[in-house]
């Protein structure tokens, strides 16, 4: 299947965009950079050409082409699948906001010192441990089938899906935040406290603004994961992109709808991955210039 994707039309441009990035390390400028870009371009074209040739000449190719790259099925399922993707986008956007908030609360609770707050820290720690240990699909099942089983009615599957994604991802995101909080030198907190700021004021105005800025790249990384994991909620009956593709697949007896899903995710996720890279590079450059 991977061979079929890279041999397909249209996506080779995405792959070729990468080697040209060699210049961002600043070592290759001017004619050297042009030459190395050309070499990278030619070698990529040759490599992909060879792979495509091998795949196309394989004995099973006509059958694979018919069941995975059927143009008519592609055209028929595309609008439905793109429309269903809107559900994933909603899931993703709503959960993301909730995760950013809830994850931060958990991280702050775990970072608060003092023996009085031990029970709160304990609860937060247990939550993070449990929800990181369990496979996401289990949590989605338990929430999506378990809560309605308790007799709770009138709540849509969409709400359970959001709840499950938020609980799963907040556990990871809180750890990212916490790493950021721990990376801020204690002298910053000491300086704030020495001015009379309370523990929470110091956290809010001094530690968190610096910590959050530092963890934006790893946060974005987690959200790339979240985008993809929105398809997991198809298992509790939310008709989103993957569920819609399954429906189209059983209607047409053809796997092309899954290729459509793959393309949609590639188009959506890769720009975000590139953005993360840009942010990481910028952050490194900034640190390099401010280091003494």
């Amino acid at each position: 299947m991977a061979g079929a994707i890279s041999g397909g039309p249209g996506d080779s441009g995405l792959l070729i965009g990468l080697p040209g990035g060699g210049g961002r390390y600043g070592r290759e400028r001017g004619s050297g950079a042009l030459r190395s870009t050309l070499v990278a371009f030619v070698s990529t074209v040759v490599f992909l050409g060879v792979v495509a040739l091998l795949v196309v000449n394989a004995p099973g190719w006509p059958a694979v082409q018919e069941s995975f790259l059927n143009g008519r099925v592609f055209a028929d399922s595309l609008p439905l699948i793109v429309r269903a993707f809107w559900v994933n986008v909603q899931l993703f956007l709503v959960s993301e906001v909730l995760i950013l908030g809830f994850g931060l609360v958990i991280a702050v609770l775990r970072s608060l010192p003092g023996s009085v707050l031990f029970p709160i820290r304990l609860i937060a720690t247990v939550y993070v441990d449990v929800f990181r240990a369990l496979p996401g699909i289990l949590i989605i099942y338990v929430l999506g089938f378990g809560i309605p089983g308790l007799g709770v009615t009138g709540v849509s599957k969409f709400v359970f899906a959001i709840l499950a994604l938020t609980l799963i991802y907040s556990a990871y995101v809180s750890e990212v935040y916490r790493a950021g909080i721990n990376s801020i030198h204690p002298s910053q907190d000491a300086a704030a406290r020495s001015l009379g700021l309370s523990r929470l004021q110091s956290m809010r105005h001094v530690v968190l603004p610096q910590a959050v800025r530092r963890v934006i790249p790893p946060l974005l990384n987690d959200f790339i994961g979240l985008q993809k994991d929105t398809v997991l909620v198809s298992y509790i009956g939310v008709v989103e992109i993957f569920r819609q593709a399954q429906i189209r697949q059983s209607a047409s007896f053809n796997f092309t709808p899954y290729i459509v899903v793959a393309l949609v995710f590639l188009l959506f996720t890769i720009p975000l991955a590139r953005l993360t890279d840009v942010l990481v590079t910028r952050d490194q450059r900034r640190r390099a210039t401010t280091a003494r």
Binding site: Q188, A190, A192, S194, L195, G196, L197, Q201
Partner: protein
């Protein structure tokens, strides 16, 4: 309590015996795990007095200052500020700290805030000063120390000396009764030391009560009303700078000063 002539002069209105000490420390002890850093510190500081603490690294100078500001919890002993026991269990730590400014060796400015925001953060959040007025007061203070044109810069655009002056202004913005300076010139390039020390001189001239941990012996001799020599967690010897620097009674003090002179730091 022995006061030298200068502090008697600055508190001339009252007889020194009836003035309530600004700081009174008794039998202060502090350990980090098994390492006992402070082994019974007794120190009394009069209002408007400038006390310089000298001694080798690890003698406990910084720890003592951090204990006075309650950054480090103490193991035993008492610290009274203006007659109030700040080590009592029910005391409001945040309220105490407002009145005690501390400046650190490493500046510890907030890198994500402009100079102005660094200075106004605590007045705005702790004293609830409206931001307009906090900004006015901060600008005035910055101008007093020649920093008015740095108001909107971020800390990483300033020299070490400028950063440390901003840190002093940030502490002063809370109108503290007492300033603790913890080796504030140790992280500076030599040519930047003077600008920071001049700020401290101005504060001393304005009557600020200060406890200063320092390696700058010339400065200590010049500015201090009293010098205390710390050795292995105790104040081994204290007195007017002229006496401590010229005829110390303790062998350890003499040895320390000899080493400082040999290193060309005096």
């Amino acid at each position: 309590m022995s006061l030298d002539q200068r502090s008697v002069r600055t508190t001339a209105a009252d007889s020194p015996d009836t003035v309530r000490p600004a700081v009174e420390i008794a039998a202060l002890r502090k350990s980090f795990d098994k390492l006992e850093v402070l082994r019974g510190i007794d120190l009394v500081v009069a209002p408007h007095e400038v006390v310089c603490l000298i001694g080798s690294s690890g003698s406990g100078k910084s720890t003592l200052l951090r204990c006075i500001n309650l950054i480090e919890p103490i193991d035993s002993g008492r610290i009274l500020i203006d007659g109030v026991d700040i080590t009592a269990p029910k005391v409001d730590v945040n309220k105490i700290r407002r009145r005690i400014g501390i400046v650190f060796q490493a500046f510890n400015l907030f890198p994500h805030m402009s100079v102005l925001d660094n200075v106004t953060l605590a007045p705005r959040k702790v004293l609830r000063t409206p931001s307009g007025r906090a900004a006015e007061e901060a600008t005035e203070l910055l101008a007093r120390f020649g920093l008015e044109d740095k108001r909107d810069e971020f800390p990483d655009r300033l020299s070490g000396g400028q950063q440390q002056r901003v840190a002093i202004v940030r502490a002063l913005a809370m109108r503290p009764d007492l300033m603790l300076l913890d080796e504030i010139t140790s992280a500076l390039d030599p040519e930047l030391v003077a600008e920071v020390l001049n700020v401290v001189r101005e504060l001393a001239g304005a009557g600020m009560t200060m406890i200063i941990a320092t390696h700058e012996m010339g400065f200590a001799r010049d500015i201090a009303d009293r010098v205390g020599f710390l050795d292995a967690g105790r104040i081994l010897e204290q007195g007017p700078p002229d006496r401590i620097f010229t005829e110390p009674t303790e062998v350890r003090t003499r040895q320390f000063l000899d080493r400082v002179i040999a290193a060309g730091r005096m």
